[in-house]
Amino acid sequence: MEIKAKKAQAPKKVKSDRAKTNSKKAKAKISGAEAVLKCLLKEGVDLIYGYPGGAIMPIYDALYDYQKKIQHVLTRHEQGAIHAAEGYARATRKTGVCFATSGPGATNLFTGLGDALMDSTPLVCVTGQVYSHLLGSDAFQEVDVIGCTTSITKWNYQITDPNEIPEVMAKAFYIANSGRPGPVLIDITKDAQVGLLDFKYKRTTKIRSYFPLPEVDSAQITAAAKLINAAKKPLILSGHGIQIAEAHEVFRKFVEKTGIPVASTIHGLSSLNNDHPLYVGMLGMHGNYGPNIKTNQCDLLIAIGMRFDDRVTGNLQKYATQAKKIHIEIDPSEINKNVEVEAPVLADAKDAIVALHKKVKKKTYPSWLKEFRACDKKEYRKVISKDLAKLTSGPIKMAQAIKEASDQTKGKAIVVTDVGQHQMLAARYYDYSDKNLWISSGGAGTMGFGLPAAIGAKMGRPQKEVLCVCGDGGFQMTLQELGVCSQYDVAVKILLLDNNYLGMVRQWQELFFERRYSFVELENPDFVTIAKGFGVEGHTVADAKNLKASIKQMLDHDGPYLLHVTCIKEENVFPIISTGKAVDEIALE
């Protein structure tokens, strides 16, 4: 409009101006490498985790001039970079970005890609690739990254022409963080990075073969509401989808209107505060007793944004066969995948809940809720009271350390865990009292996830306390990232629960393999010395009587801190649903 107006007033001048800009533009071609960074800026990216190397050097060279606009964090391993990007994405709901070079740089991302795909985490990973004329020649550091990552990415694409960069990057961000989020990998050959292009960017809002956001089908909502309104013993299963859809508020209102008890999956933790009167605990293998038992006694399951993972359902043939089921899910391939349902609702969790809210009756289920509380009492007597029994001396119970950290952070820290016994106990004994506090590797169960993901979470939400709960096994898989905590002053608080065992595997060997402890005992290093070597403060607490003060010291410390907790060597996580058992065959001891 403005140009038009000017044109009317002084056409000649405008013409010459325009000619000038055109010639300027013609000269102002930029490199593919710089274009990548401009794309990131257009998508609002201000933080990248990465590791340079030969095939991505042009991008890193361009980054040298962009470091004021985009922070780059040099992790110590590409796996650290991608897990950090995951932690960042999970904490902020933004897309995590990481860079790696070709060959081994790229292969080091694979674990994180698989992890992000399983846990619906939006990532855009950019890898360098050898010159396009060398593709397929077994060139130095050449790996068929697209071929290798096809099954562990939501989408991947190789760019060999710089002109493709803006459009492909725009697509990458759109795909990563729409519908069910997931990781996208863009592999860019070196010649595409050094080649020149006219940069024009348009954000992608539509891809003709991709329909990420199904419209809520009112017939499905009506069918679901009918089941809800008729139910006598309904149970809500809240999943990761509630966090991803940022549906906490509407979910809480829906729950309070319907009066239906809420059990959460592991990634559904903190979708409703633990102290909410309708929250009845966690589902699954090491979940709470009540929700597992009652799954097989309810008359209606309302699953929201979860995928009936085998760790949740136990034996599928005996899973809630008595109940009708509603499944609210954004990914059509998840509906009727593991569990056949009467009333599927294909939609974003938030949209579905809002639509459903209008059609459900206000109700309460006092006696049904009492049944859960009776189960809670039983679990408290048989499990929780023992786990939390206040030891006053000697090695520390893992649950006790987590509960103490929970109390001192008032249940409001972001809890990032590694994988194993400590993870299950962090899920069980931290009192989640705010939304979106749980970041863990659930689907993939990736040991080594904890520390780098905690770094990403802390950098994404620096105002929040970030508690990284690790075991001694997983911690040693990525502890080199302590260097990142130190170099960038990332104030994560690491609660290292050390029992000198790969505890979960040991527990299984004890329970299911006749105590044949096959390669699960570790001769551990001096973790505090290692941390200090990296410039991270820390100390060891070996006596239960010092636990409280130690956790306070950790939390009070200004900067990253490692609290090394000497734990009881052999502890088992209960309850447990053993492999092949039904949810109501959950064992308390």
Binding site: G147, T150, W155, I207, R208, S209, S333, N336
Partner: protein, 174 residues
């Protein structure tokens, strides 16, 4: 119960789509009986046809997972009764075989096969039909001697009017 299903997939014609689709099938350790790909009647949209023997539950889940690939428009599965389908087979047999009586000639007539090429040493025969038919001819030719045999993937047209068109219309694509 396992059954033969034909999956038809409409996708963008892009590098990597086929390997994504195949990966979804092979990760379940299902061997594909046949695969073919070509352009479809809709401009710019590619069609992949895969035949597998699985249960209906399996094929439904596989289709759903193929469907959600970014570059895939839609995947459908069909029972053989929903399809008109063909495969093409080529047989290379020794020319000598034709000298010995009228066996081969009779076979060509019986199976409604075609002679594509005659060389001094060999003759190439073409037969289109369902797998059972091309297989039966193969068995008979094996009796007289055969040098080479190859069969194409299945090509198929569905009997119900193509569901894709309705689907694309709904999505405002075509």
């Amino acid at each position: 119960m396992e059954n033969e299903y034909t999956i038809t997939i409409f996708s963008e014609n892009k590098t990597g789509v086929l390997s994504r689709v195949i990966g979804i099938i092979t990760r379940r350790k299902i061997n594909m009986d046949s695969i073919s790909a070509s352009k479809s009647a809709i401009k710019g949209i590619h069609k992949i046809i895969i035949v597998i023997k699985v249960t209906e539950t399996q094929v439904r889940k596989i289709c759903a997972q193929i469907d959600k690939q970014i570059d895939v428009f839609k995947a459908f599965y069909y029972d053989n009764s929903d399809l008109v389908y063909q495969e093409i087979a080529l047989y290379k047999v020794p020319t000598e075989a034709f000298y010995q009586g009228d066996t081969v000639e009779n076979l060509v007539r019986k199976y409604d096969a075609k002679i594509l090429r005659i060389e001094k040493k060999y003759i190439v025969i073409e037969k289109t039909g369902h797998q059972e038919e091309t297989e039966a001819l193969l068995e008979e030719l094996e009796q007289v001697g055969i040098y080479e045999f190859i069969r194409s993937g299945r090509v198929a047209i569905v009997k119900p009017m193509e569901r894709l068109n309705t689907y694309l219309k709904k999505r405002n694509i075509a």
